[in-house]
């Protein structure tokens, strides 16, 4: 198991399904596709400025996943951590898969939403590997 971790920070949006795709994606990455190599952190805690969380994120690679153009995850990370190593928009995966229409239901999320989340999670997991490789090479 890799010691270094890539932190996945979804936007926490709960008003629309695009935030749910980000959250589901993050869970698939940390629990399945990049288990042991990635971890979650609460965005509200980052916004609040919890010191140990901020310090940990500064030392590790960080991926933002956002559900709308306001980019809460990306903007908050830039403001509080000072960097984002990669960013994803859930709306992009929806545009790339026109045959999969996410259901409007947020709790629970629907099957199409889950399928879209899995597709995005595959991309995010690949990025986790790339970032860890980059970090290893630079050390």
């Amino acid at each position: 198991m890799s010691k270094e971790k890539v932190y996945i920070i979804p936007c926490s949006g709960i008003g629309k399904v695009f935030g749910s795709i980000g959250r589901e994606t993050a869970y698939i990455v940390v629990n399945e596709l990049a288990k042991g190599k990635s971890a979650l952190e609460c965005l509200p805690l980052i916004v609040k400025g919890k010191k140990e969380v901020i310090d940990r994120l500064k030392l590790n690679k960080v991926i933002a996943i956002d559900g709308c153009p306001l980019k809460c995850s990306y903007n908050n990370l830039i403001e509080n951590i000072g960097k984002v190593d990669a960013q994803f928009m859930t709306t992009d995966i929806v545009k790339e898969n026109r045959d999969l229409r996410p259901e409007s239901s947020i709790i629970p999320v629907g099957e199409q939403t889950k399928n879209l989340s899995t597709k995005l999670a595959e991309k995010v997991a690949q990025k986790v590997d790339d970032l860890l490789k980059q970090k290893e090479e630079s050390e």
Partner: protein, 139 residues
């Protein structure tokens, strides 16, 4: 201005309490009091410098309307944010108190609350809905 109560759930992804807060908020806003409540996005609300990105609208809403925060853990991220940018929230609910009060309702996981977890979310939502009613009477 139409009377509404703002609901802000911490919605933290890392903890079960965050998932319960999100579920309870959605139940209040979608099922129990759809006409009287509106959901506010916690990271959008709380981020510093959001004037540039759009969160000011949420902060202004909470200045002009009673707002209820739902906290997934003792960090109270939502309450602190509302307090800081819009004044004291009308009420704050801590999910951990509900978990302690209903030990038989065990949620499955932060990813999937399961049947018992959803029952607990319904109970939390009922209590919040009653508080919404009280706030309307008071107004």
């Amino acid at each position: 201005m139409r009377k509404k109560v703002g609901i802000i759930a911490c919605s933290g992804e890392e903890l079960l309490g965050g998932t319960l807060s999100r579920a309870a908020a959605r139940i209040v806003v979608e099922k129990l009091r759809p006409q009287e409540t509106i959901i506010l996005c916690a990271p959008l609300f709380a981020a510093g410098g959001l004037e540039r990105h759009g969160g000011q609208e949420e902060r202004n809403f909470a200045k002009e309307h009673p707002t209820i925060t739902i906290e997934g853990c003792e960090e109270e991220c939502a309450k602190i944010a509302v307090d800081k940018y819009s004044g004291p929230p009308a009420a704050t609910f801590n999910i951990t108190e509900f978990i302690d009060a209903h030990p038989k309702l065990k949620s499955m996981s932060r990813e999937d609350l399961g049947e018992d977890g959803m029952k607990l979310a319904e109970i939390i939502a009922e209590v919040i809905a009653k508080k919404v009613d009280e706030l309307f009477i008071r107004k």
